[in-house]
């Protein structure tokens, strides 16, 4: 299996993703430059965090025009695993590969802190090693993490079990206080209808070793490896 980590101008988390996959999990991983027109040979593509195109116009708005995104859309339509973290999630919504949009945090401040996430759906290639309701301690670092979708889209996402992670408190309760950025229904991460594309605002690429404060994020990458192995 081979993982690819895309680099856009302005991405800054690609090395963390590369290290988590390559060194911690010991799986083959390569960088994919945003101007590449093919993702042939890759089994999973990661869109890392950062500030692609400086967040100019809107976060993720210009990255969707990078040549590689056409190849990634085709890859996703054929069932390839696509994982967008933070800025990657924003890019995936702008590109239409995931529903909804990410708005400015409701408190208008950039937030950088650990969050508890409750696992809502374990029937995905990204959460197959977790149990339903499992709490993960994963940090966020974003100014525009406020998940929004119109009423019809939100209902469809919920009814279809596309919500994978919600912000929760330490006891697993979904409360307003546990919601750092105003995301509707405390949504922290969602998959597409086919469940092969995941976008999440928190950073499993900053929580894959206990020395970082939490190794819970490693479970997401391990689940992907597990999904590819059992394919």
């Amino acid at each position: 299996m081979k993982f690819g980590v895309v680099i856009f101008p302005g991405s800054n988390c690609e090395q963390d993703c590369y290290y988590a996959i390559g060194s911690v999990l010991g799986k083959p991983v390569e960088y994919i430059w945003h101007q590449d027109t093919s993702v042939k040979g890759f089994d999973a593509v990661v869109l890392p965090g950062g500030f692609a195109y400086g967040d100019y116009l809107r976060t993720g708005a210009l990255a969707k025009f990078s040549p590689v995104m056409k190849a990634i859309a085709e890859f996703a339509s054929k069932g390839g695993l696509v994982f967008g973290i933070c800025n990657g999630f924003q890019i995936l919504t702008e590109a239409g590969l995931l529903p909804g949009a990410l708005l400015r945090n409701v408190g208008l401040k950039y937030l950088c802190k650990f969050e508890y996430l409750r696992t809502e759906n374990t029937d995905t290639p990204f959460t197959n090693l977790m149990t339903k309701g499992q709490l993960l301690r994963i940090p966020i670092g974003h100014g525009d993490g406020n998940f929004f979708a119109d009423a019809d889209t939100l209902k469809r996402i919920e009814d279809n079990d596309q919500v994978v992670f919600r912000y929760a408190d330490a006891h697993g309760e979904i409360t307003r206080e546990a919601n750092p950025n105003g995301s509707l229904n405390n949504i922290a991460g969602i998959v597409n209808e086919q469940r092969n594309v995941l976008g999440m605002m928190p950073h499993p690429d900053r929580s894959y070793e206990s020395i970082l404060g939490s190794a819970d994020g490693k479970l997401v990458f391990e689940s992907m490896v597990n999904a590819l192995v059992t394919k």
Binding site: L57, R58, A61, F65, T93, E94, G100, A101, L103, R104, N105, V106, G107, L108, F148, A149, D150, T153, G182
Partner: protein
Amino acid sequence: MKATVIVTLKQTVLDPQGMTIQRSLASLGLTDISDVRQGKIFDIRLTEGSREQVERLAKEVLTNPVIEEYRIIWE
């Protein structure tokens, strides 16, 4: 030929920046202003009269249709 594209958040979308501006007006005594919403303006210059290109720019690049809408002022 010139065109001005005005991009605003849809009315159904929360605008914390606009709300923050409106809240700060009280200290200035501008208490009759009940709502402020923040948007963006793009000034566009075209070589020939191609309204279609400006419409495409507005639709496909300048706005995120999930949360924003636009109107165009032609000159």
